[in-house]
Each structure stands twice: as C-alpha cells, then as structure tokens.
Point group: C2
Chain length 239, copies 2
C-alpha cells in the first residue's frame, strides 16, 4: 500500500522536473534526491537545486563517486559523441554509466526507508529505454521486486517504482510539463556543462526535437542550433 | 555463460575471506572489492586489505558514504546492542543498513562491467538471512535478474550472483575455511572497532559460537570471552 511520501530522482533535465511536478499534482509529499556522481555536466546539479527552490522543496544530495568505477563517457575522459539524430537510437550509447539506475534506485530506496517513503519516482522514458538497458519497463519491474525482497520497508509496506513518463515521447513530456507549469528555463540537458547548451550532443538534439514536435520553443540558450531547429525557428518567424 | 573473472565482495569478517578462498580454489580470477561506507568498524577495511595482501590480489576500494542516508546502528550514532545469543535471530537488527546489499551488489556489478567480470561472489549465509532481508536467497535471485535486465554486461553475458555460503552455518564456514587455509587470524568481525574484539556484540557471539561448534578455536584476541566460550575453552584445557 503506497503512502503519500515519494522520493523523486532529480537530474535537472527536462524529464525529472516534469516528474516532480506530476507527483506534486498527484498529491504526493515529495522528497527530491540528486546524485553527485562525478558527472561532467555538473551543471545539472545546480539545475536540480534551482528546480527544488522553485517548488519550495528541499533537495537531498547524495554523493557517490562513479569515477571510482569508470566505464562511461559521462564520468571518464571519453569523448561525448556527436552522432546526429538518425544514429541516436538502437544501440547502447557511450554515455551509458554502468548500472547507474540500479545504483541510484537502491540509494533512493535506502533514503526512502529512513523517511518511510515507499514510492520512488524516476523520469525514464521511451527514448531513453531504446538505448539504455536500465530504462526499460522490465528492468523497473524487477528492480521493484528486488527492493521488496531486500529492504525492511519493502517487506512491510512495499516499494513502488513510478515511471510516469515511461511511454511518453519527448514532445509528450514537453506538453505535459507545460500543462503542469514546469519551469523549463531552469533545466539543463546538455552533456557539455558550458555556459550555453552545445546544441550538438545527443541530449541537446533530443531536447530540441521534443520542443519542436510539441510545437513549442525551448527557453534556454544554445551556442548554436542544429539545422533542423534553425529551420523550425525560421518557419515560425522566430529568427 | 560465466567467464573466469569474479568480483568478490570483501568485508574482512569470517565469511567473505572464505568466499575469496573458495573462488580461488574454483579457478576464478578474483577481483575483490571492499566498501568504505562510513561503518563504525572501519577496522574491517584494514582486515580486507590484509587478506588481499595475504592472497597477493589487489583490493578495489569503493567509497560510498552511507552516513549521508543513515538509518542504521552501523553508520549512525545508534548504540550497537548486546542482545545475547538467544535473541539474535528472527528480527531485523538495528545493525541493518538500508538496502546495503542492493547498493553494494549494484556497485560491484558496475565494476564488473568495466572489467568484464560477470560473476559476483558474496559471503551471505543462513545466519544472516534470518535477520537481514537482503541476505535471503530470493533476494539474490531477483537481484541477479535485475542486473541481467539493467546492465550491458548482464544482457550480453549474464551476471551470476554466487552465494556459496548461503546454506552454511558459521561452524560449516569455519570448517570450510580451515580446509581452504583461510588466515582467520587476519579477519575481524566485531561491531566495535577497538584493539581487541569486544566479545559481546552479535557478531562476536556468532563468530565464537561458530568456532566452538566447529570444535575449533578463534585466533584473534578478545577483551573478554562470553561465558559459553570460556566454558568451552576450560573444558578443552585451553584456559
């Protein structure tokens, strides 16, 4: 039986703030958690903080240095690729971080146990799970069973891993978020943590495509737009 | 299909060094991992190091500060109880650390991915799983499925969580370890990390009971023996 407390995994991108807004909209008392795991786009931590401040909720920061383990472009000195939209899907990207969601959900559950929150919200979605094994529905189902066997709160109350964006595209997410009033201007998706978003990495391309397909416009600044988004802005008289 | 590389979770107590010896005896190339998680009995980390030096294998140390999360006598300022042998079983102890094995196995799997080791050995056993939910066979089975859905190496090669001591009592473990030549004098089980083992905490009591039931004698020093072990030493002319 779910109670009304929920741990929300926050990464500062488009998705997790939408999930936070969704959980609030559904009456949950929210306990956002961010992970300082040695990611290069450390800027997402500031975005997570900004989002939580916007909503007036306290952010729990958990430090787990994944560079100790390595094996990913996000934590190692491996180049983040610029693959173009057509090559993004159907393979595990170099930005995959070994067992990341297993580790993060485990830590979120440990935190949930100490505050008696038995719902864990995570912002994984359809686009992610084409490439990342730990974003697939069957992974979350089994992870939930693992928590319910391996933790005290899981045994007494049952954990529920909530993935409300699971079957949504990025444009669906943008539409949902706008309806819920998510302050997307405070979010950050770019894999390169510079002053402006690069407009070239997988994450920037998917974000801009999402806004475009939602017939919406991204509020954050880019170093340069990819061609498809420039065209879109032009055809809408924005540039 | 399992390859010959194995990540071994090492905690410095009786069990995990026995598992390390068992894996070596079974022809695995071993990659021991210890967790510096803010435990009070930090001395177990030195024991882990000593054991690995003894076997001439390199120890990978992973730091994950569980005091950030709290909720356990092992990481919080909660007193470690002295319950007596008769009260140890059948309830979740205050030394339970929320989701510890889920977190540790996730991190071990992440490390395993980077070195292509798809076996993970852990020293959980029958006595532990009477009290700790994350030491039960059904937990390990589901955790293994989670890794095989949620990680790249799990998908390509399949992870195997190996729990060779699962159905052994402490005395069975002592017998197995002696046969394999485990240097138990280098191990450390006491929850209190003082110069000598306290002889009073759950962990000391179970350890001494194990040696006694194996008709063996513990090599490490104690501040004081519990009555049952003093009797045993007397009746064997040791004191």
């Amino acid at each position: 039986m779910a109670n009304d407390k929920a741990v929300i995994l926050i990464s500062g991108g488009l998705d997790s703030p939408t999930v936070l807004a969704y959980a609030l909209d559904n009456g949950y008392k929210v306990y956002p958690v961010s992970f300082d795991y040695g990611q290069r786009h450390i800027r997402e931590l500031q975005s997570s903080e900004d989002i939580c401040n916007y909503y007036g909720v306290k952010l729990k920061k958990i430090k787990i240095d994944m560079t100790q383990i390595g094996g990913s472009a996000l934590t190692d000195k491996i180049d983040v690729p610029e693959r173009g939209l057509e090559n993004i899907e159907k393979e595990i990207p170099v930005t995959y971080v070994p067992a990341r969601n297993t580790i993060f959900i485990s830590l979120a559950a440990a935190y949930g146990e100490t505050i008696k929150a038995n719902s864990i919200f995570i912002g994984a979605n359809a686009i992610d799970y084409s490439g990342y094994p730990d974003c697939r529905p069957e992974f979350f189902n089994t992870m939930e069973k693992t928590l319910n066997l391996g933790t005290e709160l899981g045994i007494t109350d049952g954990f529920r891993i909530m993935v409300p964006l699971q079957y949504l595209t990025k444009s669906d997410i943008v539409k949902l978020g706008r309806r819920l009033g998510v302050p997307y201007r405070l979010t950050w998706s770019c894999y390169n943590g510079r002053d402006k978003a690069c407009g070239k990495c997988d994450s920037c391309l998917l974000r801009l495509k999402g806004f475009m397909e939602a017939h919406d416009f991204d509020d954050i600044e880019y170093e340069a737009y990819p061609e498809f988004y420039s065209e879109y802005l032009k055809s809408n008289g924005k540039i």
